[in-house]
Amino acid sequence: MAMPAESVSSSTESVGGEIREDEHGKKFIRVYAADTITVGRPYVVTYDGDEATNPKTASPATLAVYQYVGVATETASSGDMTWLQIKGDCDFALVTGDSDVAKDDFLEVTNTETAMEVDASTRSANSVAIARAAYTDTTDAATLVSLIGDRVIVAAS
């Protein structure tokens, strides 16, 4: 498949995978909902060989591979296509304050969790976001964060 300099195009297409960036530098990726999606929950972006379901969501699971974690922008049913936010300010990210989250703390998501939690005061390989607001309650709640936009490793705890 020779590519003229003017245009490039693949011959096949998965339904999802499109990345969009808004005027504020926020980035979003279109994915297949492999399960019921809850707005604000962090999901791992994963892959399979079926163009109808690729890429797709997965619950966070321990894995020493750098992967994208995105925050669901809407509630969606299993089988829907939906957008995950992967970079930029986000005021609907679910955060747990089981361990107090202070503004400027780095946040991660760990194995099977449904919300981000405090990672450390310095960035680690697990850091998904940085808190733009403090949060200390134990209930998962929508919290203002800035998603870093880099791939991360999901730790066991």
């Binding site: 300099a5 399979d48 992967q67």
Partner: protein, 156 residues
Amino acid sequence: MAMPAETVSSSTESKGGEVKKDEHGSEFVRAYAATATRGTPLVLTLDGDEATNPGTAAAATSAVYQLIVFPTSTETSAGFQWMQYKGDCDFALCDGTAAIAKDKYLDVVDGETAMTYDAAARSVQSIAVAREAYTGSADAETLVHLIGDRVNIASS
């Protein structure tokens, strides 16, 4: 050097390195190769010469995360061409000596000219996921989905 908001530009330019994305989200980079075989996985490399930068190299063991690219055409003379690194790709060379099933992850190992079976779960070597099975021992063009992330290259 203050940059007006309307334009951004560097003062020097390598001939390659341009990235293009198609309407399906597939991504391509313009890279240099001395010769190229369509669909062969190559490492995207860098050097200090604008005439050959970025370049390509055969897969070699490395614990550095690097981008793997796939020439879109066979070329017998040196030059730049578009190489795909993300999205659905129906011309990626695969070796099915270790049977490749749909949905399995694929990697490229040291000295190889085709992708091979990596694992059922993604690893730091995973370049792509197979969109079809392939079990032949000869390198053959196979439909895969290139993840587009940088990877490590294992020795075997």
